[in-house]
């Protein structure tokens, strides 16, 4: 199956581990990724300064993706997933906006039909590839690992536009982790925001939020946290130390992308999954995985 992929900004400029692990794992599930040229920011940070400009950014990326002719557009970043889905919803329901955008897209030589289905890593794997196919690709089950998940805000809300998962009790990421053989715990803070949305205006508060969630998770005695958004991941992984300093505690929790975990269960090489790039102590998780399945 061919799928167009829109990486956004964070994944291709700094969160390389997500891109590496997605590129390494998806072909093994029969998915051929088609890269896009000429794409831009999804509009997420721009929405705060100009809503219309944000819609334009999102729609031009969808128009570029439509040129590939694939049915689905895979958007692995939560923020981008919301921006693109929301702009497409605006475009479909607002004729005035449609006319306006047509002019701008036309200047770039683009046309928008609005026929693509926008999917995120989680619902693509869970609903389209399916748990059974994911399970079949597992070579080294992660039996014995105890994990928790963080779905992130922007694939769950607003649920009147998005349909990745239940907005108050998401389960798909947990199901996907269980399919790899690991145990998943539910925890009270699972819906707490990572704080990335405050990074541009209140960075200290942003890292306090992520660190507070990490502290709660660490208290559960689990082997690690699994996420699937580059913004959330950066907060929990790369900013773990900064966050720990901000709230005055010691944090050492392994944080991995779901696609990295999937790759481990497929028996893929750690470096091909970008596991050397995680800044949190993922060795602890890797050792545990090795012990239970040498």
């Amino acid at each position: 199956m061919e799928v167009a992929v829109y990486w956004g900004c964070m994944i291709p400029t700094v969160e390389y581990a997500y891109e590496l692990s997605l590129r390494a794992t998806f072909p093994r599930l029969g998915v051929e990724l088609i890269d896009l040229e000429g794409v831009s920011c999804c509009g997420s940070p721009i929405k705060s300064v100009n809503r219309l400009a944000a819609d334009y950014l999102a729609l031009r990326n969808i128009a570029l993706a439509e040129e590939t002719g694939t049915e689905h557009l895979l958007v692995p970043c939560n923020g981008c997933y919301l921006s693109l889905s929301e702009a497409l919803h605006h475009w479909r329901t607002d004729e005035e906006l449609q006319g306006e955008m047509e002019k701008f897209l036309d200047k770039e030589g683009l046309t928008l039909e609005g026929r693509m289905k926008i999917v995120h890593t989680i619902n693509f794997l869970h609903d389209i590839i399916g748990l059974e196919a994911v399970e079949k690709a597992v070579k080294k089950p992660l039996t014995g690992l105890r994990l928790v998940s963080h779905s992130g805000c922007h694939i769950l809300r607003p649920s009147k536009i998005l349909d990745v998962d239940d907005p108050e009790r998401p389960r798909k990421l947990d199901d996907l982790i269980r399919t790899l053989g690991a145990e998943v715990l539910e925890y009270p803070e699972s819906l707490d925001c990572c704080g990335a949305g405050l990074l541009l205006s209140h960075p200290e508060t942003a890292v306090s939020l992520s660190a507070t969630k990490l502290r709660a998770i660490q208290g559960l005695g689990v082997d690690g946290l699994v996420d699937s958004c580059p913004a959330c991941h950066m907060m929990f992984d790369a900013r773990q130390e900064t966050g720990a300093r901000a709230i005055g505690c010691k944090l050492s929790l392994p944080v991995v992308y779901y696609t990295q975990l999937l790759g481990l269960a497929m028996g893929l090489d750690e470096r091909s999954l970008g596991l050397h790039l995680n800044q949190s102590p993922v060795e602890k998780l890797l050792e545990r995985a090795q012990k239970t399945f040498p």
Partner: protein, 170 residues
């Protein structure tokens, strides 16, 4: 702020309030202050953001005060308020519109947002591909990791974006 200030400001801000009301996808009056938004607000505990209070300020026409206080930039945009409102009101949408207005008036916009805007205008993305360091302190780039080169947008893109950005809010 004295009572006199409040009443006189409110009268002069009718126009700003009307502009916001026109852009909103819901009725301001639908909010009956049940406080469900505020009770679940991510930014309430640490930054004292109270979404219902922002709603009420706009209802009263105190838009100028909201913008100059900088309170609209304390929102984490987690969208729980919008999701949970029993009246299908969206405080986060209102906050976004107020932010748009701040930008238009060049008032109180955090520096980092302006940097992002200029980067998107220049190269299409929020930043250039960065060099990263592994836990073992090895340096990597997209290229050395074997990732394909990024091809940015063509010229008409920035012209479009500039035209849109210089237009009215919302």
């Amino acid at each position: 702020m004295t009572l006199r200030d409040l009443t006189s400001e409110a009268a002069s801000e009718g126009e700003l309030r009307e502009r916001i009301v026109r852009e909103l996808g819901f009725e301001l009056q639908s909010c009956f202050r049940c406080l469900r938004c505020t009770s679940g607000c991510t930014s309430m505990k640490l930054l004292e953001l109270r979404p219902h209070f922002v709603m009420n300020m706009v209802k009263l026409g105190l838009v100028e005060e909201l913008i100059s206080s900088g309170i609209v930039w304390t929102c984490a945009l987690c969208l729980k308020c919008e999701e949970r409102c029993p009246q299908e009101v969206s405080p986060s949408e209102l906050i976004t519109l107020l932010r748009n207005l701040s930008f238009q008036r060049e008032e109180n916009v955090p520096e980092a947002y302006l940097k992002v805007v200029s980067s998107v205008l220049e190269m299409g993305l929020i930043q250039e591909p960065m060099e990263v360091v592994s836990r073992e302190f090895e340096e990597f780039t997209r290229e050395s990791l074997g990732l394909p080169r990024i091809v940015g947008p063509r010229e008409a893109f920035s012209e479009n974006l500039i035209e849109l950005m210089t237009r009215g809010a919302g």
